[in-house]
Amino acid sequence: MKTGVLALQGSFFDHVKSLELINKEYQLIKSVSDLENIDSLILPGGESTTMMKIQKSDDLFATIKIKINEGMPTLGTCAGLILLASDVIDGQSSISCLNTVVERNAYGRQNESFEGLVDFNGNKEMYCFIRAPKIISYGNTVTPIAFIDEEVVGIHENNIVGLSFHPELSNDIIYLEWLKNFLKDGLNVRSL
């Protein structure tokens, strides 16, 4: 089985590179028929408004939502987090299956974009925050899993992980190891 990578727009090939590094086969997802043989899913960074517009023609997100609700391990980074969030300030929710409120571009415009030292997975690594969404709040079924100092920049709920930043632009070994395990069985990541 393959990992699906949403490929409507954005940095999906960078996620493909991560998957190649962990020897996981992938399937680019552009329409509903691409979802058939996948066992896990990655929603990349890019522009969430653009992705929402493009998926409309065959209502791709509705089918993705069903897959996620059935328990498919799903990782969303940056715009991917926005697509997953149940509530989006200054934007609209779309797939809406991760119990959190996020705000688009809340760290500022590009000139305020930064590399930040993130505590993720018991490891500290510099990751890119590019016009990143901010995690404003989250429900009590959600566990924070990534931090800059005290600030939460990554969360986990059941089979879903949403990150404000871009581990796929760094591909450090600890992230790749985590990704491998997460895609295999998202549910067990609860114990993080």
Binding site: Q9, F12, L169
Partner: protein, 294 residues
């Protein structure tokens, strides 16, 4: 710990724009139409290239008011053009909080020898190039993204195709070259050695490469994507056409589904009139914008 505006961050925004369409707009109203049509970013400029071509005169950075208006009207990234070598226009765009600066041959150049030293400005830059040597020189100066120059404002894709093919050939030559000949290649194409070495080692251009200049239809966008571009800029092609919104949406869908002819047929139906094109051979050499830049 946070570090702003590293080269990785500058390049990173371009990575996020991949597979998308960046649309030229001259006011907030057009910017909103572009965003609603699925544009991944908008490019604010004074006049669209077809009008600059028709009206002549000196083309400069957009007015501060227009840029501010466009920034306030959309949530997607906003780009704006500065004249080649006009580092003060670039400093002003940085201060305005623009997300990407296009040091563009579409505007009248401000310096006939030098481009802007882009490393000193927090905002990332995109630059036009007609071949790999020009791309490498711009990357050496700090460009975080490259686009083909094409021939802006003509609605004629031939120059963009020429530039993209030339770029691909140049990259392939560097990748397959014996390591001992890299310096000689760098000399021949007048490129910084470090950039040539980087391409040889990573087997690709170190930054994202979009297509620009003359793209007018969904088929043009798909053609450039099949030729290996990471995304497309559409200038005059949208707001000089019969139905800008429909055309903008169609080009967005075509850019994602560039390898799916059925989808391309579907989105190309009932699009209204495309912009009227110009034959490149009918242009006087002095009218070719792609000749600007050094």
């Amino acid at each position: 710990m946070k570090i702003e505006s590293t080269f990785k961050i500058k390049k990173g925004l371009a990575e996020m724009l991949k597979g998308g369409v960046i649309m030229d707009v001259v006011n907030a109203e057009q910017a909103v139409i572009a965003e609603k049509s699925g544009a991944v970013a908008v490019m604010a400029l004074e006049r669209i290239p077809a009008d600059i071509r028709a009206e002549g005169g000196v083309a400069r950075m957009s007015s501060v008011e227009t840029i501010q208006e466009v920034i306030d009207s959309v949530t997607i990234p906003v780009m704006a053009k500065a004249r080649i070598g006009h580092f003060v226009e670039a400093q002003m765009l940085e201060s305005l909080g623009i997300d990407f600066i296009d040091e563009s041959e579409v505007l009248t150049p401000a310096d006939d020898k030098n481009h802007i030293y882009k490393h000193d400005i927090k905002t990332p830059f995109v630059n036009g190039a007609t071949d790999i040597g020009e791309a490498c020189r711009r990357i050496g100066e700090g460009a975080a993204m490259i686009r083909t120059k094409g021939e802006a404002g003509t609605g004629n894709v031939i120059e963009a195709v020429r530039h993209m093919r030339s770029m691909t050939d140049g990259i392939n030559k560097i990748i397959t070259a014996d390591v001992n000949s890299l310096m000689s290649i760098a000399k021949e194409i007048r490129a910084p050695f470090e950039v040539v070495k980087d391409i040889h080692e990573s087997k690709k251009l170190p930054v994202v490469n979009f297509a620009a200049g003359g793209i007018a239809t969904p088929a043009d966008a798909a053609l450039m994507m099949q030729l290996g571009c990471d995304g497309v800029f559409v200038g005059s092609g949208i707001f000089k056409s019969g139905d800008p919104k429909e055309r903008a949406e169609a080009i967005v869908i075509a850019t994602t589904n560039f390898d799916n002819p059925e989808k391309l047929v579907e989105v190309s139906k009932e699009l209204g009139e495309p912009m009227v094109g110009l034959n490149i051979d009918d242009l006087d050499e002095t009218e070719k914008l792609a000749k600007r830049g050094w």
